[in-house]
Amino acid sequence: MLSYIIRRLMYAVPIIIGVNVLTALLFFRVNTPDDMARKILGEKFVTPAAVENWKKDHGYDLPAFINTDEHGAGIVTQTIFFQKSAPLLWFDFGRSDRNNIDIGREIRGRMWASLAIGLPTFIFAIIINLFLAMILAYLRGTLLDTWGLFICVIMMSISILFYIIGGQFFLGKALRLLPISGYDTGLHSIKFLILPVIVALIGSTGAGVRFYRTVFLEETGRDYIRTARAKGLGESRVLFKHALKNAMIPVLTNVVVSIPFLFYGSLIMESFFSIPGLGSFTIDAIQAQDFAIVRSMVYLGSILYIIGLILTDISYTLVDPRVVFD
């Protein structure tokens, strides 16, 4: 098991390096430090001296990838790519371009707010969607199933933006049940979390229920279900006992990949509900054109995705004994 995990981690190394090089190309080659400096100092009336000064202050005054003025290892290390991108490999995110804040510290401080929304949404979404999907699968072929599926398609066809705006308007403004947006520390934050979680749940129901229903029906087409029915078990027992256990395999392996992203936050949810998590951090950086933060978040997201993939592989082997560590 351990050697398997280590081998999977080794596979991830070239991908992480690839991501690193790709973001560096995008952020240092396509958008040169001069462009960055001009954007941050203001497009007009920027003297070349001011640009040089800004680059020097923020460590962008080196060649991009190869420094011909240096000797030995310096050819590679005394470059923007190495100075700015290589520290990402050991999670040193450096400082932001605009306010000079410590990005790593900011991320560590903000990820809990993202988790506070992400975790309940994640758990309740699985429970609710699975439950509804099982009901539909139980009623398959009936009018209720057809209409349930149709409602799912309708729910899928509505943009998440409408759910958010509608939720804020009806629950927050018209009925005054919940605060429209905001955040607080500790347990006081709960009343701010209810609305975003409800909205996110409603937004995910359509696609989720449909997917889980397919998984269930795929499972009920298998031989062991026919055997269970043939020996006289009731439909509900077949579905909820036999099929559910086995349907959990594709369900689990499908959701595991998103577990690391619970820390990562959602751009729109957090910005609509003013949650001070990583999503709103990213949005603010985008609007301020702070490329150091955007680059860090791109990198962090890739890492989390790769971790998610590894966790998925491991969970496969855990829930399905037929899959061996190979």
């Binding site: 396509v30 985008i286 490329f291």
Partner: protein
């Protein structure tokens, strides 16, 4: 003088493709058509989609009028060339010119005859009071007017082209790449397969939204430059796409081609082992011939399914991206922009709801049929994936 943007070409291509598919499905065995005939909901959806596509097509046929001076005489340059207006109006703009030019001063409710906001009015006897002034075009604004007084129905209709281009253009751009790389990875395997797999795993591990954001921050800054133009730059806009919509399609394509590529690779690997491919090999058909004659035609159903299923997701994504501020520019009609402004209008007292309602209606009217139609196409082409 006609003006063709890169995104117009996308609309033309999609229309051509749709007509071709329609023609093909009336001949052949017509599995898709049969499925859709049986499924009345899918047939209705198809009609809706055709209406939307037709509107987008009308909005993509555009030309510049000859600029005229105040006496109505055509302006000419010193050497006798014609001078054209800076704005190229589309066929749709011209058809709806009543809606386009019939602007009010500010908000007005649907079918209203008076403005929604109070203004100082001069009464016939010279006194000034606060009140709701009458509209210039009372009762003509079916969905009301927005803050600057333009007709909401017109704005929503203008969003159709943006939605269609995003939904189809993105996949149109990626299909050749996804098929090419997917097929050679799956068919040849080995080292080529490793390289291609590495590339798409790396690309797909970067969070899509952030890649789009970064890309649009870097490339999307180039908006449309107006001004009077001469005849020499007629087709310039095709080859130098300077509208954000095109860049948005491109980057959405880059972030979403990996899924299609992965599917195609898997299918190509499966097809490679089949008897008829072996037979072709035994007859001495070269690799390229096998790919072209036997592999590619047999995975086109995957491509078609992906295209129709991705469509609605892309239309929804455009709205979110426009909300974040990296979608199409504010000068371009899009439902995302409408939602963005409508959000603040809901906190007004009394509520201005028609902007949000209009964007909801038009978006829903595209995405729901697209979803239903997509399901029908998938059921027809890939019975294995059918929802039982």
């Amino acid at each position: 003088m006609p003006v063709i943007l890169a995104t117009d070409l996308i609309v033309f291509l999609v229309t051509g493709g749709a007509i071709f598919m329609a023609y093909r499905s009336t001949r052949g065995n017509g599995a898709v058509l049969r499925e859709i005939k049986q499924n009345r909901l899918a047939a209705v959806s198809l009609v809706f989609l055709c209406l939307y596509l037709g509107t987008a097509l009308m909005d993509s046929l555009r030309w510049r009028d000859v600029a005229v001076d105040e006496n109505g005489a055509a302006l000419i340059t010193e050497d006798g060339g014609a001078v054209y207006e800076s704005e190229a109006l589309s066929l749709l703009d011209r058809a709806l010119s009543g809606l386009r030019t019939g602007t009010e001063k500010s908000y007005s409710a649907p079918f209203a005859s008076r403005l929604f906001v109070k203004e100082s009015m001069e009464l016939p006897d010279g006194r000034v009071t606060r009140g709701y002034p009458p509209l210039r075009y009372p009762g003509t604004h079916i969905l009301g007017t927005d803050k600057v007084g333009s007709d909401v129905l017109y704005t929503a209709i203008k969003g159709i082209r943006t939605g269609i281009v995003i939904g189809t253009g993105t996949t149109l751009i990626i299909i050749p790449f996804a098929i090419f790389f997917g097929v050679i990875a799956g068919f040849f395997g080995g080292f080529i397969d490793d390289i291609i797999q590495y590339v798409y795993t790396t690309l797909s591990s970067i969070p899509g939204v952030l890649l789009i954001v970064a890309f649009m921050l870097l490339f999307g800054g180039k908006g449309f430059q107006g001004g009077l133009v001469s005849e020499s730059d007629v087709f310039l806009s095709v080859f130098v796409p300077n509208d954000r919509l095109f860049w948005l399609c491109l980057i959405l394509g880059i972030t979403s081609w990996t899924d299609l590529c992965r599917l195609i690779r898997g299918e190509a690997m499966k097809l490679r082992e089949l008897e008829y491919v072996n037979a072709a090999r035994a007859f001495g058909v070269p690799g390229s011939g096998i790919i072209w004659r036997h592999i590619v035609p047999n995975l086109m159903h995957i491509v078609l399914i992906t295209v129709v299923l991705q469509f609605s997701g892309l239309v929804l994504a455009e709205a979110v991206l426009s909300y974040i501020g990296i979608g199409v520019g504010p000068e371009m009609g899009s439902w995302g922009n409408m939602i963005n402004t409508a959000r603040l209008e809901l906190s007004r007292e009394p509520v201005v709801w028609w902007n949000l309602f209009a964007s909801f209606l038009f978006m829903f009217g595209l995405v729901l049929p697209a979803n239903i139609f997509g399901d029908a196409v998938r059921d027809a082409l890939d019975p294995k994936l059918r929802y039982r």
